[in-house]
């Protein structure tokens, strides 16, 4: 069918394919995977995992497939926003790792096992990590080691150990190494004290050594069958305790203290800003919202608490971590905090640059909030206002944007260490630049402040 669009992320998997048809998302289960799919559904594993909110639920449909390989076509529940491990904070990656191990434990009890342990197969749905690849399960081959062990270590254990023991920013290595951080690299980067943890020594340091030593060795069928079910349980237990013990606590970062300490707003101005955003979100009734530079999610929650799927991006991983913890504690369902540096947003990566999508390719959002952001990009990062307008035009249909004039104390701080080469950075210049790309629908001054909030619609 001409209007079918095969999702490029799923091209590697011979057991099925993901495709879109008429605005709906389907997954074709190929005949070659029939036995495993039937086991998943028939063994009670599917019911157990969806009950525990660990696997994305699906419906079996009568839709025709996209090839003659089709055994079944299923329609999984759609995840509102696909995010990638290099956009997650420590807590999100850890929760995704724990979810993967919980799934594997439950699968083992049903005589099945995960064939992949890719972090990309986990997505956040209703605020919790769920496996989205229904075709990841296979009937457990007798006495064979875990086929996804290396992938689990590279996708989860290695980045978590580096974040906890070396530096939380090393999560960005996942952006370079699409199949997880190589274990020999991880072993070199980990400090000595990390090696004193038996499980980390075993699954990273000794594992990396063994990879080097046994690379290319032919695994005979007989040798590959020496892994008892008890050893399998021991492996998962050991990985579980290794991950569980890894911790990272955000320090005092500049941004997460922003609202609490800074003199950006008087209490009255802050309250008025909140009222304005509330009013604009209520009036525009967006289908989804992206809050760019959203810090710990104060304004993003105005949308998410109305039931709108909302993504809150910030460059500061500590702010994202705090935001995520707050969300988990309050069991919020519509907010997704993510790490994103707007001056270098997530690019398309992987095979043909099409395996993982860029930020813009995952949009446009119905509404973007860009509050107290423009001055950081325009003055802090020398991005001319017309380019900012073009960038935002590519991300949203409607925009709520705050203009912070030069006389504002925050802008003065930015200007204190640089030459003022921004003569066009005025209210008029801003309206002119953005007016070319957007139609200005509303303009509201924040009380007790020189800042202005605009509502704009893409031309």
């Amino acid at each position: 069918m001409a209007d079918d669009e095969v999702v490029p992320e799923s091209f590697r998997d011979p057991s099925g394919v993901l495709f879109e048809r008429g605005g709906r998302l389907f997954r074709q289960v190929n005949r070659v995977h029939r036995e495993h799919y039937d086991s998943l559904m028939g063994s009670g594993l599917y019911a157990a995992l969806t009950e525990a909110n660990l696997l994305v639920p699906h419906e079996e449909t009568d839709e025709p497939g996209v090839s003659d390989q089709a055994y079944r076509v299923i329609e999984p529940r759609r995840v509102p926003f696909i995010s990638y491990p290099y956009e997650w904070c420590f807590g999100q990656l850890k929760d995704a790792a724990m979810a993967t191990l919980r799934i594997q434990r439950i699968a083992l009890r049903h005589g099945m096992s995960l064939r992949d342990a890719s972090a990309y197969n986990v997505q956040f749905l209703d605020g919790r990590p769920v496996l989205i690849d229904t075709l990841s399960f296979e009937r457990l081959p007798e006495n064979r080691p875990w086929i996804a062990y290396r992938q689990f270590c590279q996708h989860f254990l290695a980045p978590l150990a580096l974040m906890a023991f070396r530096d939380v920013r090393l999560a960005q290595l996942l952006r370079v190494h699409i199949d997880g951080i190589p274990l020999d690299l991880t072993a070199r980067l980990l400090p000595r004290r990390a090696r004193l943890r038996p499980a980390l020594f075993l699954h990273i340091v000794a594992h990396a050594r063994s990879q080097r030593r046994h690379a290319g060795e032919v695994v005979t069928a007989e040798r590959g069958r020496r892994f008892t079910p008890r050893a399998f349980v021991g492996l998962i237990d050991s990985l579980w305790s290794a991950v569980r013990r890894l911790r990272w606590r955000p320090g005092r970062s500049v941004w997460s203290q922003y609202y609490e300490e800074s003199g950006s707003y008087s209490p009255e101005a802050f309250e008025h800003k909140r009222e304005i955003v509330q009013k604009l979100v209520a009036e525009t009734e967006p289908a989804d919202v992206w809050d760019l530079g959203g810090n710990v999610g104060t304004f993003a929650r105005i949308a998410s608490e109305r039931g709108v799927p909302t993504v809150c991006f910030d460059a500061d991983i500590a702010a994202v971590e705090l935001n995520y913890r707050r969300e988990v504690e309050a069991r919020e369902r519509n907010l997704l905090p993510l790490v994103l540096d707007l001056t270098n947003p997530s690019p398309p990566i992987g095979w043909e640059n099409r395996e993982r999508r860029s930020l813009a390719e995952r949009g446009p959002a119905d509404l973007v909030l860009a509050l107290a952001l423009i001055h950081h990009l325009a003055i802090g990062n020398n991005v001319p206002l017309p380019r900012l307008a073009t960038f935002l035009e590519g991300l949203c249909r409607r925009l709520v944007v705050e203009f912070v004039p030069k006389e504002d104390p925050k802008v003065q701080i930015l200007l204190a260490t640089r030459e003022d080469v921004f003569p066009g950075y005025t209210r008029e210049g801003f309206e002119q630049a953005f007016g070319k790309r957007f139609e200005i629908e509303a303009r509201i001054g924040i009380r007790d402040s020189s800042r202005i909030i605009y509502l704009m619609r893409r031309r």
Binding site: R197, A206, R209, G216, E217, V219, A231, G234
Partner: protein
């Protein structure tokens, strides 16, 4: 801390004794991970067995303690 060092020593000894010598160089980390699991399988299986053994001991002791408490209570009530 001393327990950790002991563990690392056990692992190290295990590797010296059991890890097999290097084979031809065709670099696929996949087979290394596979063989590694077979190598550590005994250790992991033993850990599960030890854990199960201790759980049984603790369970038995806890049960005995509970039984004794019930007995004490009953004998108290009978007076």
């Amino acid at each position: 801390m001393s327990r950790r060092i002991l563990w690392v020593a056990i692992f190290a000894a295990y590797f010296v004794l059991i890890v097999t010598p290097a084979a031809q160089a065709y670099l696929d980390p996949g087979s290394g991970s596979f063989i590694f699991q077979v190598i550590i399988g005994g250790l992991l299986g033993a850990a599960v067995a030890v854990k199960a053994f201790w759980q049984r001991i603790w369970g038995f002791l806890a049960q005995r303690k509970a039984d004794r408490e019930v007995e004490d209570k009953v004998s108290e009530e009978i007076g």
